[in-house]
């Protein structure tokens, strides 16, 4: 089959690789129909997440059709049209039972690496470095899905492939970001980063009761999408002082909840960016916490900070004093997709949110290296490139 393989920092190639086989009793093989770029792939390609190896198949946000199942697969069957969560959950450990799927104890074959780095291991993820399992990713014609009964969700009639695709990652991550804010109704929510996840966080925050959503980015087309599709108020950080603007927009209180949809490669127009970029380049810190610092400063006293942008290691100048004295609540994590998938498919079926507008570019899998270049530099208003396989 054809697959998009990592060859080195910012170097991808589409190669011929063997088809995947069933390796464990709870496995299924999915023929990929659509698979899409995710901002977190850029951290891998840029070399900021260690343990990537030459030849790794990348990609984790996908939908397709089940073509084969292992002997212990019960719920899904051959021919089912499914969307698949990127995080692999066994369904049996304490964390899965408590709906904390991305913390699954049993799906990372390389659990020893995160145990040394982070104290404990977390769940395996498709195409997301060997530290997080080393599973072959979804930018391929076929993918092996371990614990298929937990990770594959049948797509109901009336929901298109392109709508269902984003129930894999962008939608549940954005939804969880808003869910973690524990909104009671009437809150002002500020969201940093208007990529696919940020766009979904905007829609989800309104759905869960926010009365105002303020979205922050620097790319005009992304801000336009946040404004027109998400009905958010928008701020361009290259044009305004974000902390001042947020204060003024909220009567001096600051937003009740602040969501970081950016993560470790944050950008800023001032000298702070170069300070962190320099430290990151020489590995004095692994992650640039520019957004994280702003989020903590901006948040109202006693408010909630919700982090779904990806961090990997260590940050510097973390304003713990502001966080502690303002009594902020921190919620964060990789998305627990299995907790949200059915709920989100229903939201789509009922017509409340249609995430397919994230798919700004549709391209054949063969064009993936070009697509990632465009995606990284945000060319041509690219929000998400969706890859089709088999020339469809």
């Amino acid at each position: 089959m054809r697959a998009v393989c990592y060859r080195g920092v910012n170097h991808l190639e589409v190669e011929n690789v063997p088809d995947p086989k069933i390796l464990n009793p709870h496995d299924a093989i999915v023929r990929v129909r659509l698979t899409t770029t995710c901002g977190s792939d850029l951290h891998l390609l840029d070399g900021y997440i260690p343990t990537m190896q030459k030849g790794d198949i990348i990609g984790h946000e996908f939908m397709g059709e089940i073509v084969e199942t292992g002997p212990e697969v019960r719920k899904v069957k051959r021919g089912d049209r499914v969307v698949v969560t990127p995080v692999i959950g066994c369904g049996q450990c304490w964390f899965c039972e408590n709906q904390l799927w991305s913390l699954c104890d049993n799906t990372n074959p390389n659990a020893g690496i995160p145990e040394r780095l982070w104290g404990q291991s977390v769940a395996g993820i498709f195409g997301y470095s060997h530290m997080l399992g080393g599973y072959a990713g979804s930018h391929a014609e076929y993918v092996r899905v371990p614990f298929a009964d937990n990770g594959c969700f049948k797509i109901p009639e009336g929901v298109t492939d392109e709508q269902a695709l984003f129930v894999s990652d962008a939608f549940p991550t954005g939804y969880m970001a808003a869910d973690l804010c524990d909104l009671k109704g009437g809150e002002v929510v500020a969201i940093w980063g208007c990529g696919g996840v940020g766009q979904m966080a905007i829609r989800s925050a309104y759905l869960l009761g926010a009365s105002r959503v303020i979205a922050i980015d620097r790319f005009p087309d992304r801000l336009r999408m946040a404004q027109h599709r998400g009905t958010a108020e928008v701020l361009n950080y290259e044009e305004v002082d974000i902390l001042e603007a947020l204060k003024e927009m909220t009567g001096g209180r600051g937003p009740d909840a602040c969501i970081d949809c950016v993560g470790m490669e944050a950008h800023e127009s001032g000298p702070e960016y170069w300070y962190d970029k320099a430290k990151q380049t020489v590995r004095l810190e692994t992650d640039r916490p520019i957004v994280l610092r702003q989020v903590i400063h901006a948040c109202r006293k006693g408010g909630t900070v919700s982090i779904v942008g990806v961090y990997g290691g260590f940050v510097d100048k973390f304003p713990i004093g502001a966080a502690m004295n303002k009594a902020l609540t921190f919620r964060m994590g990789q998305q627990h997709g299995q907790r949200y998938a059915e709920r989100l498919l229903n939201i789509i079926r009922e017509g409340k949110i249609d995430p397919s507008y994230l798919a700004t570019h549709r391209m054949p899998l063969e064009d993936a290296p070009l697509a990632y270049q465009m995606f990284k530099t945000k060319q041509d208003g690219m929000m998400r490139a969706v890859f089709t396989t088999n020339g469809r």
């Binding site: 086989k21 009793p25 049996q92 049993n106 092996r144 371990p146």
Partner: protein, 237 residues
């Protein structure tokens, strides 16, 4: 609660293998002996190279000193280098202690999570293990079960052989309905002791890492019914 707080009962063979105390004076004496041993060796070499009676006398005297130094170092080798290495690792499993114990107690299950183990058969209080070594050759090992408390505890020691050790595994309920805490402890004497352990660690083969891996696989098999793998999955060249 007194005994429940302990991972292992005090009378466990593992506890009895603990390192002897108050050896410090002997060690300090030995340090001097090592120094004099080196001097003795030098004397032997000098004497052997020199012709004549003086050389022979010096070599003989050096030899005698070397023997004396070796005799003083021997207990240190026995007590320090050969001191038992003790390893303890724990894991929490989302099942009852009874169920977890039962799985461990069934010999046919052991090869599912103990790497290199081919089979385990039980007769009376003995367990016969067949394993495959790193070089592929088979290895046989007999264990004697010392204590077996259903749902709680199993301890054993090896009946001779080069891979001799004593071990125990305890199963106790985890607080707050979190299943079962499994505590595995083993103790063994190795000809190269701590040094060997350090070398093993550099090669990623130290017993602590291996025990952690075994407990992780045990948990994976008991909870999820399979051990996650990426072996033989597709990848680019």
């Amino acid at each position: 609660m007194g005994t429940a707080m302990r991972a292992l009962p005090a009378e466990s063979p593992v506890a009895a293998w603990r390192r002897p105390r108050a050896m410090a004076p002997a060690y300090m004496h030995a340090a001097g002996s090592i120094a004099s041993g080196i001097g003795a060796g030098a004397l032997v070499v000098w004497g052997m190279r020199r012709k004549g009676v003086v050389g022979k006398m010096a070599a003989l005297a050096g030899g005698a000193l070397a023997v004396r130094a070796a005799a003083a170092v021997a207990p240190v080798y026995r007590d320090v280098i050969l001191a038992p290495v003790r390893i303890q690792r724990s894991v929490t499993i989302n099942k009852s202690p009874e169920e977890t114990y039962r799985f461990w107690h069934s010999p046919e299950n052991l090869p599912r999570f103990m790497r290199h183990l081919v089979s385990a058969t039980v007769s009376g209080d003995r367990v016969h293990l067949t394993a495959r070594r790193h070089d592929g050759h088979p290895m046989e090992l007999d264990l004697v079960v010392d204590r077996d408390v259903p749902g709680q505890y199993i301890s054993w020691h090896t009946a001779g052989g080069i891979k001799s050790h004593a071990g125990a595994v305890a199963f106790r309920p985890a607080p707050g309905n979190r299943g079962c805490e499994v505590i595995f402890e083993m103790s063994y004497r190795s000809a190269i002791g701590e040094a060997g352990r350090f070398i093993g660690k550099l090669r990623g083969r130290d017993p602590g890492t291996m025990v952690s891996g075994m407990l992780r696989r045990f948990k994976q098999v008991v909870e999820a019914g399979e051990i996650p793998t990426t072996r033989d999955q597709p990848r680019g060249v």
